[in-house]
């Protein structure tokens, strides 16, 4: 198992536990199920993103800390808040994308950039995909 796959596997397990906690809010069971069904495959697909490349610096530690953060949650309402947040935090750390269903390419992802930020902008690294 690659380091990336190992990190993603641990993140997916933590996400499942978070969903289990969130599901205890009966009125939101459907929403929690929809979120989990949508995000889990995208989260798992991060294991294949950038395959062959080493993890970005600090990525494994970042995901480890994010897992620790959601592991502290005891309030199921807050768990629901994190169901949509955690996958994006993990994707930012690993350099992937969870915006679309797994296996679906983001619209325009293969098109050349036409609105690149000014090279003088201090935020240019953040404004460029895939960080958008």
């Amino acid at each position: 198992m690659t380091a990336r796959a190992d990190v993603v596997e641990r993140a997916a397990a933590a996400y499942r536990a978070l969903a289990d906690l969130a599901e205890t809010i009966e009125d939101e069971w459907q929403y929690v199920t929809d979120l989990t069904d949508a995000y889990m495959p995208s989260l798992e697909a991060l294991a294949k993103a950038d395959s062959g490349r080493p993890l970005p610096a600090g990525a494994a530690e970042a995901v480890h800390e994010a897992i620790a953060e959601i592991g502290l949650i005891a309030d199921p309402h807050r768990a629901i808040d994190w169901l949509s947040t955690f996958p994006h935090v993990v994707a930012l750390a690993l350099g992937g994308d969870v915006d679309e269903p797994a296996g679906v390419e983001k619209p325009g992802a293969t098109e050349p950039e036409s609105d690149e930020p000014d090279d003088d902008s201090p935020f240019r690294m953040l404004l460029r995909r895939p960080d958008r």
């Binding site: 994010a66 953060e69 915006d99 201090p122 690294m125 953040l126 404004l127």
Partner: protein, 222 residues
């Protein structure tokens, strides 16, 4: 159709105090200039359990790691500090601050392209009982009026909110006015769309603005 200040009950007065807190304006200003990754950080921190800044710096290496440009890290540091100030309030208060921040961010982005941006306003129609809840943000242009409901999370999207927005749009249309209605969610577009997909309330003419695309509020023609 006309706009009107909402009557202030005791709850509204308390909330107005939060809206006027300089922390809300400071954080909204920072978020208006932020990249998507900083906005995700702000959401995570303000939803978070831990309030130790070093923990959050480790969770977002693209913002605080060695490879991050100094200007990026500096801006992210200010977003982090302000977000932690919100997180350090008690649970009940932090949720009010989060809502106020989303409203202020929405108003500031809209103000980049529109003049008459107002807060906590009702929309009145002749012969139609007024809605109880005011709109969080309005653009009171004669040619192109707009109303916005702002939510911290997609979970805040419900039938009442959607019905109020669509009813306003429909009543305005009866008067020959194109009222643009939108819901702003400081959450993932995907989570908001899942919420909307399950709603039976009409929302096909209600625009969704999510965290990833919130800059579009400032764009002409948006």
């Amino acid at each position: 159709m006309r706009f009107q200040d909402a009557a202030r009950d005791a709850r509204a007065v308390v909330y107005a105090g939060i809206q006027a807190d300089p922390l809300v304006a400071r954080l909204a200003t920072l978020l208006a200039e932020a990249a998507a990754s900083e906005r995700w950080m702000a959401r995570a921190v303000m939803n978070g359990e831990r309030t130790d800044p070093q923990t959050w710096r480790r969770i977002f290496p693209s913002l605080f790691g060695e490879a991050a440009p100094a200007a990026v890290a500096d801006h992210a540091e200010r977003v982090l500090a302000a977000s932690l100030e919100v997180a350090n309030r008690g649970e009940q208060v932090r949720s009010q601050y989060r809502g106020a921040v989303v409203e202020e961010l929405t108003a500031r982005l809209l103000a980049r392209r529109a003049g008459a941006v107002k807060r906590e306003r009702r929309v009145l129609f002749d012969g139609i009982p007024a809605e109880i809840h005011p709109y969080d943000v309005t653009v009171e242009s004669a040619e192109r009026p707009e109303v916005y409901d702002c939510k911290w999370g997609a979970r805040g999207i419900n039938a009442d909110v959607l019905n109020q927005l669509d009813d306003a749009r429909a009543h305005a249309a009866e008067e020959g006015i194109e009222l643009r209605v939108a819901i702003v969610v400081f959450d993932a577009r995907r989570s908001a769309e899942l919420r909307l997909d399950r709603s039976t309330a009409r929302h096909d003419e209600t625009r969704l603005v999510a965290l990833e695309s919130i800059d579009e509020l400032a764009e002409a023609g948006a």
